[in-house]
């Protein structure tokens, strides 16, 4: 068994530098690597390119890095919950590459799976396809999309073991599994770190082979963006 455990976020983020490209898991604020983001703020690294489905809200998630102007470029599918983001983008301070959500997910998977490029119908005929190769298969048009190249992937899992095996919970799974597969160095923070052998090998979502560093996260806030409820009758 190959042990992947590191002590904390500080140790987990060793090697992080200005100008790097990162992947960050999460959908909205659900399943984001809170501890890793805090440590990126602490480190003060700048000129970052961040691949993440969303860009957080003004005062949480990737919004914290945007506030401090640590991000040079965002690669996302939806960024509609963040005023500071919109301001930086419209003023030209922030580069933004918006790509379809399914294409984003599949490009992450391709990166981890050694697939350099694939065809998808998403975005054909729109500005997303501008400058890209298009091709017809069985009478339908598709766009050629490529794998990413990211030095670090920051991933949040529910449970993990010392061998780096991961289990996610609910819809906090989202982009985390494919990003775990895709990072040159994949850093995982978990709510509960257990010994190898405690997780059912048949129920592991991401095998430890994809994970370079894993640590027990602390002080999870797990903020809810839209608290919608059915009143007690």
């Amino acid at each position: 068994m190959i042990n992947k455990v590191v002590k904390n976020a500080e140790e987990a983020l060793k090697g992080v530098e200005n100008g790097m490209t990162f992947m960050l898991g999460g959908f909205g604020l659900c399943g984001i690597p809170e501890n890793c983001i805090s440590e990126l703020v602490n480190l003060g690294v700048t000129d970052l390119t961040c691949i993440s489905n969303n860009a957080g809200v003004d005062d949480f998630g990737l919004g914290l890095l945007l506030q401090k102007r640590q991000i040079k470029k965002m690669i996302s599918s939806y960024v509609g919950e963040n005023d500071e983001f919109e301001r930086q983008m419209l003023s030209g301070e922030l580069e933004v590459d918006l790509i379809p959500q399914g294409t984003l997910a599949e490009r992450c998977r391709a990166t981890g799976a050694g697939i350099p490029a694939f065809y998808t119908p998403a975005g054909y005929g729109t500005e997303v396809a501008e400058g890209k190769e298009t091709r017809e298969f069985n009478g339908k048009m598709y766009v050629l999309e490529h794998a990413f190249d990211a030095q670090f992937a920051f991933v949040k899992a529910w449970k993990g073991d010392t061998a780096g095996n991961l289990i996610f919970k609910g819809t906090a799974r989202n982009f985390n599994p494919m990003m775990a597969m895709a990072g040159k160095t994949t850093v995982v923070e978990v709510e509960e770190l257990v010994e190898a052998g405690e997780l059912d090998p048949n129920q592991i979502h991401i095998p430890g082979i994809f994970v370079q560093r894993i640590f027990q996260g602390t002080a999870y806030e797990k903020r809810i963006e839209q608290r919608t409820v059915t009143p007690k009758s």
């Binding site: 959908f27 909205g28 419209l90 379809p100 599949e106 998403a122 529910w158 494919m178 797990k222 009143p231």
Partner: protein, 218 residues
């Protein structure tokens, strides 16, 4: 009278068919789940990784780890499942989802749709909409017939950046149900009390009106 948002959703719900998996976009489309016709089984897919989406949780039972694509806290029904985003869009691109209902800023008479960007002013991103419209066999657009300035949203050509080309086949607005075919809007139904003339006036694109146009039934 023009329909309320709830009535638009209610009318769209009549389009649901037994054993369909359905993806509902943010806004009016989300409301469709409240009007599933009796006697049919449908399951709702949320592209952030959830199938068998249920109603909002009972107060106090919210789970930050269980949300829909609109970031709202939700529940999961018996027979539901959870999965990652790659699997979710495998379902969508692979045409395993039978119906997509989504909002739009503009729809053109050739089936083009624009709903993700107003250059220089509003750039929220397309989210999963481009994957959904490029893949779904059935797409229903749910929207107001005109924008806040009173301008038609059913156009000869979209003026905003496109989300998808030639993909919309049906539009349900507060005024009408329309089918898109052969490069035109075809009027199928009127909102109760709304005249064909009113719909014509609110439609910039070519509107085909053949025979008597019935009122919607609820």
């Amino acid at each position: 009278m023009a329909l309320s948002k709830e009535q638009i959703a209610q009318r769209i719900a009549q389009e649901l068919q037994d054993k369909w998996y359905v993806n509902l976009g943010i806004g009016i489309p989300t409301l469709v789940a409240n009007y599933i016709p009796k006697g049919i089984d449908v399951e709702f897919q949320s592209e952030n990784g959830l199938l068998g989406m249920g109603p909002f949780p009972i107060e106090g039972a919210e789970d930050a780890d269980l949300i829909n694509a609109g970031k709202q806290t939700v529940t999961i029904l018996d027979g539901g499942s959870l999965f990652d985003s790659a699997m979710s869009f495998a379902m969508i691109r692979g045409q395993h989802v039978q119906l997509t209902v989504l909002g739009a800023m503009e729809v053109a008479q050739n089936g083009d749709i624009a709903n993700w960007k107003i250059p220089g002013r509003m750039v929220k991103g397309m989210g999963g909409a481009m994957d959904l419209v490029a893949s779904a066999e059935n797409i229903i657009v749910a929207m107001m017939h005109t924008n806040k300035k009173g301008e038609s949203k059913l156009l000869k050509e979209c003026s905003l950046p496109l989300t998808g080309v030639g993909c919309v086949k049906k539009v349900v607005t507060n005024l009408a149900v329309l089918e898109i075919k052969n490069g035109s809007f075809h009027l199928l139904e009127r909102a109760p009390g709304v005249s064909v003339e009113e719909i014509k006036a609110a439609t910039e694109g070519t509107l085909i009106v053949e025979g008597e146009i019935p009122e919607m039934q609820f």
